[in-house]
Structure formats: structure tokens, C-alpha cells
Subunit: 351 residues, 2 copies
């Protein structure tokens, strides 16, 4: 990989080109943001390495967990002023007139949301570049206000990992005292534990690793259930109100489905790959398996406000830009507690 | 197999015994029913042939789609009188005090519903015998009123096949004009088409068999979608409000899941075996896969009343008791339109 002023990722099959970092002036509805921190999402690795069916577009600047300050606003911008602390997440535009957009669920836009990077820019042509960069320009309707009281270096992962868990917890209407399971303790799972606990749920971390028990409780879990312990799993059958499965690789969902009460749901937020489901486990209790993908703009703002009130951020390891390759390798080994964040100042120093 | 006065099914490993058909007097809350017709459910075959993990109890009298007339009532019975036309379905008792029973969802009783046959009688000891028989005694709380205006020979399958489709159509709140898919045209599927059409839905029969198109439309389907036709399937992507999958064998659900709109559900009522699901297909539109099992007593009564108002019965082929073995073989070849019903008078003549 070749690093440039923006952290462009290129492969051998994609000739090195100068990064065409967007130095244009913001349009009348745009906000220009000087980036402070950029989180590293597992999906950055898949896209940088062209592992999603060959859909990667190079040169690529990954990054869709972005925290920064507004440096300039377009003439018609009303929501933001210079100096505001703001965030940008997984998408930067959508069609704005389909049923999903009308419902504030831009992530499910029927025309397809416009991703923050690895896409053609539908307005200006060229490629969209993400957060491993000094600057980004985004329409004000797709920019979030970030509470100033939060530890800013740990905010960026809220824009993807955070909202990915917050949205299903809200959508499935978790109430105080309800029993909520979180399967897998990583970048996604640790946010699920924090949010569900902050909402008063009885949170059970479900993991294959007994070594994660202490951390899980520190994050807010009331109990830890080791999924390899058949007897312990039996004790929890038919007892959960919601289970959030954050495991990013194919796995057997059936032992977790059987933990649900009647009419309750296991939500997949991690696995994109095939999972085996025994119909009988669904039929026996009218149980559901569903999927959920990040969140809409209004809900992401709600989450950030909730984080401000409850002082919730991600647990992060802040790195310099020259550590990204190593960070990718460590993510693949689940060797991070729980999210890497790039200090963009290190990128400016290097350039 | 050996036939007796009740149609007892026995295997070579189960020595022939006289059937201990219940000739006791009804208890104070019981209703004695002279059976007129008994439907044949696919699950009868699995149980008669001990294909469900060795859980079959012999001697066995299958049958849980029962239509008959009350011949005698216990001293405390208030809901029924001698001569009433009544039905009995898949279960004849439940714990009556768990959350499911309190919610009128006895089929999901947390202690386990008491099945109509192939179980030990929890009150009187011995085995429970089902509907391939002259008579059955059932607690009045688990007996249904059957409207007299319906064609009685075609009513019995409503008690299992009917409620299996009616319940999810109601639970997922199908509204007039909504687009409802029914996958598979058999004993279950044909009831799904009738009910959804009667409720004003735009019903699409989804089948692998172009030969079933005409029948499906006759039953009430507005459209027929041949699932092997890739182009036609593409036209229906993201368009369904509910899909009811009645296919009883393992199959790929993903092409059907992709037909659902955002936030909508594919309900499995047929397959008990593993099904592959691609997490990405759920996540992309917050879609659900769920299971549903028959229905509670109150909902089964509601269905029968609905059938009375809309003149809905099953499409049946009425057979004599000596045809049961052949009927089983024909069911396994999907060679029935759409449910076999045993005329119990033929059993009386034979005995």
C-alpha cells in the first residue's frame, strides 16, 4: 500500500496516482470539515483489499467514522457554523424522496445511500474520499452535531460502530429491566453493552472467550454467558428479550435463537455471510431473526445526544497514520480494545 | 401397518395390541364427540412412521384435524350442548397459567401444549388417541364451535392447515391491498391463498411449478410468480409486505427474502429443517425471518367464524379409512388437491 497526504490505499493492480483530495470550495449547502480523528472499521479493510466482490474503486481513501471541526460553511447552510464539532458517518447523501428517506431511514434509501468513500461522486464526478484525510466536504443534512463534553478522540467510532448497535436497541424498543444479549465483544459488541446498560437493560455478554468476562462487566454487562458452556446455555433458554449478534464471520445462530423468549428477535449486525437456521427453532416460539444496518441521520444525532448525556464514547486505541497497516493486521486478529482511531494530526505532520 | 376399529398405526417393532379407545364417560368439563371427518396432515406421516427423532408412541391413532358432533357433555360444561358441530385441532390441553396461555397462545404453552395424539394422557394415564377414530373426549376449553353453514366434509383441515396460515396473516396484520406472497401450493399454501385473498390482499402464489398457475388463480391468487424465472423474480424484489413460506423441505430462502420490502417478514410455517440465510439480505432492508406454529384457541375460533362468514373451507379429497396407506404415499408425492379427509363413517362400517 502507498500512503499519501490523504491515506490513499492502492493495490498493485491500480497504478499509483496523485490523490485528488477535494480542495474545492463548499457548495451552498455544504460544510467543510477539518478532520481531527478517523476511526478504523473492519469494512475499511474489506474495501481497501477489494474483498467485496471486486467493487473497490482506486485510488481509495477509506474512513467513515469521522470527527472534525467545521472550517467553512456554504452560503445557504443553517445548521452549522465555523468551529462546530461535528461528525460524519457511513453515508453523505441519499435520494431524499423515497419512503425510506421520508421515514428518516436514509441508510435504507431505495436509490441506495451515497457512501462516504469507495463510490463515484454523484454530484461532482470523480471518486468520493473518506476520513483517513485532512478534510472532507459534506452536505449539511448529512453532518451530525457532536457534544463538546465528550472525549473527542473516542467519539469517531460512534458514527459507525456506535449507531450500528444503538439503532436496533431503539428500534426493538429495549426497556429498563429487559434482558438483552450481546454476542461477541469487539468494536461493535462493546458499544452494544454500553448502550443497553445505559438504557437500564440487564445486559448479558455472550462470548466464546472466558477471558473477556472481566472486561465485559467493566463495560456494563450484568452477566457473562460462555456460549461453549452447554449447561449454562440451557439455563438461559427462552429468557432473552433481544439478542444483538455482532460476530462478523459465519457461525451457528441456533444456540442463540433458542435463548429468545416467544416473539422476540435476534438481530444480526455483523455477519454478512450465510448462517444456518433451523426452522423449528423459529416456529416453536414465533421467534424472529432480523438484520439491522447503521442508522438514519436523525437517529444518529439522537445517539450522539444520548452519548453526551450519559458520557458514552468508544474504548479506543489512538494511532498515528503510519500505523494503519499494522492496525489492520491486529483488527483481523481481534487484537484491539476496541476500536483504532487515527489521529489525523499525525497525517498532517507526515505530509 | 395394522388397522383396527380406530385406525391404529403400528410398526413391526411395536407388538400388535388391542386399541384402548377411550370409552370412559366424559369428565365434568369434558365434551364427548362423535367424529365425522378427520383430515390427514403431513405430520401424521412423520409420527406414524417414527421419523421425528424416535418420539413416536405406539399404538398410535393419528389425526389432529377433527370434525364431529357433541354426543354428551360433562356436568359442568357450559360452552357446548349435545348435537353441536365442533372441531378439535392439534392440542387438547395446556398448563393454563403461563404467560403464553394467559395471552391466549396455548400453542406456545411454556409447559408444552398437550398434543391431541402421540402423547401420554397427563390426566388419565395411557396414551392419547387422535382423530382417525370414532370418538374423542376433550375438555370444553379446547373444543371449537364450527359454523353449520360450511360444507362439513371440508372443514376438518381448517383445524391445522387452516389455522397455521390464518394465524400469521392476522399476527402480521395483513391489510387490504397489501402484497402477500405464499410460497408453495399444497395443503398449507392453498389455505394461505384463500385467507389472504378473503382479507383483501393482493396475493401472489410463488411456486416452482408453472402448472399450478391456473389452480392458484382459481383459489384467489392475483398473480403467479414462478420462482425459477430469474427475470420475473427481479421484478418483484423489495415489493412484498409479507411472505408465507409453506415448503416442508429444506430450501434456499434468500431469493424470497429479497422480495420483501424494508422491515417486512418472511414467515416459515413449513420447514422444520435448516435453511441458509445470507445475513446481508436481512441487514440491507432490516428484513425479518420468523416462524409461526398453528394458533391459539381463541384465534382458531375467530378463524372458524371468519370461514363461516366468507364460506371458506379446504379443498379436499374425501377417502375411506382403507385408503389411508395410499393417501400417505400420494401426500409424499404432493399428489392431492389439497388435503385428504377420512370419512369416519367408513371406519364404523369396517369395524
Amino acid at each position: 500500500m502507498i500512503k499519501t497526504a490523504a491515506y490513499g490505499v492502492q493495490t498493485e493492480t491500480s497504478p499509483v496516482q496523485p490523490m485528488s483530495i477535494d480542495r474545492r470550495e463548499p457548495g451552498e449547502h455544504d460544510v467543510a470539515i477539518e478532520i481531527l480523528y478517523s476511526g478504523i472499521c473492519h469494512s475499511d479493510i474489506h474495501q481497501a483489499r477489494n474483498e467485496w466482490g471486486g467493487n473497490s474503486l482506486y485510488p481509495m481513501v477509506p474512513g467513515h467514522e469521522i470527527l472534525g471541526r467545521v472550517s467553512k460553511v456554504g452560503s445557504q447552510v443553517t445548521k452549522f457554523s465555523e468551529g462546530d464539532l461535528v461528525g460524519v458517518g457511513v453515508f453523505v447523501d441519499s435520494c431524499r424522496h423515497c419512503e425510506a428517506c421520508d421515514d428518516g431511514l436514509e441508510q435504507y434509501c431505495e436509490q441506495g445511500m451515497v457512501p462516504t468513500y469507495n463510490a463515484e461522486d454523484p454530484k461532482h464526478g470523480g471518486l468520493m474520499f473518506g476520513g483517513y484525510s485532512e478534510r472532507i466536504i459534506v452536505d449539511e443534512n448529512y453532518v451530525l452535531n457532536v457534544p463538546e463534553n465528550l472525549d473527542s478522540k473516542a467519539v469517531a467510532p460512534l458514527l459507525c460502530a456506535g449507531i450500528t448497535l444503538y439503532s436496533p436497541i431503539r428500534h426493538w424498543n429495549v426497556q429498563p429491566g429487559q434482558k438483552v444479549g450481546v454476542v461477541g465483544l469487539g468494536g461493535l459488541g462493546h458499544m452494544g453493552v454500553k448502550f443497553a446498560a445505559a438504557m437500564g437493560a440487564h445486559v448479558v455478554m455472550i462470548t466464546t472467550s472466558p477471558g473477556k468476562a472481566e472486561d465485559a462487566k467493566h463495560l456494563g454487562a450484568s452477566e457473562v454467558l460462555i456460549s461453549k458452556d452447554v449447561d449454562d446455555m440451557k439455563k438461559h433458554v427462552n429468557s432473552f428479550d433481544l439478542i444483538l449478534d455482532t460476530v462478523p464471520v459465519p457461525h451457528d445462530l441456533n444456540p442463540y435463537i433458542n435463548l429468545l423468549k416467544r416473539d422476540k428477535t435476534l438481530v444480526i449486525v455483523g455477519a454478512l455471510d450465510p448462517v444456518d437456521i433451523h426452522g423449528a427453532n423459529l416456529i416453536a416460539k414465533r421467534r424472529h431473526v432480523a438484520g439491522s444496518m447503521i442508522g438514519g441521520i436523525a437517529e444518529t444525532q439522537e445517539m450522539l445526544d444520548f452519548c453526551g448525556e450519559h458520557n458514552i464514547v468508544s474504548d479506543v486505541e489512538v494511532i498515528n497514520a503510519d500505523y494503519i497497516d499494522e492496525a489492520y493486521e491486529r483488527i483481523l486478529k481481534s487484537d484491539v480494545k476496541y476500536r483504532f482511531v487515527i489521529d489525523i494530526a499525525s497525517l498532517k505532520q507526515a505530509s
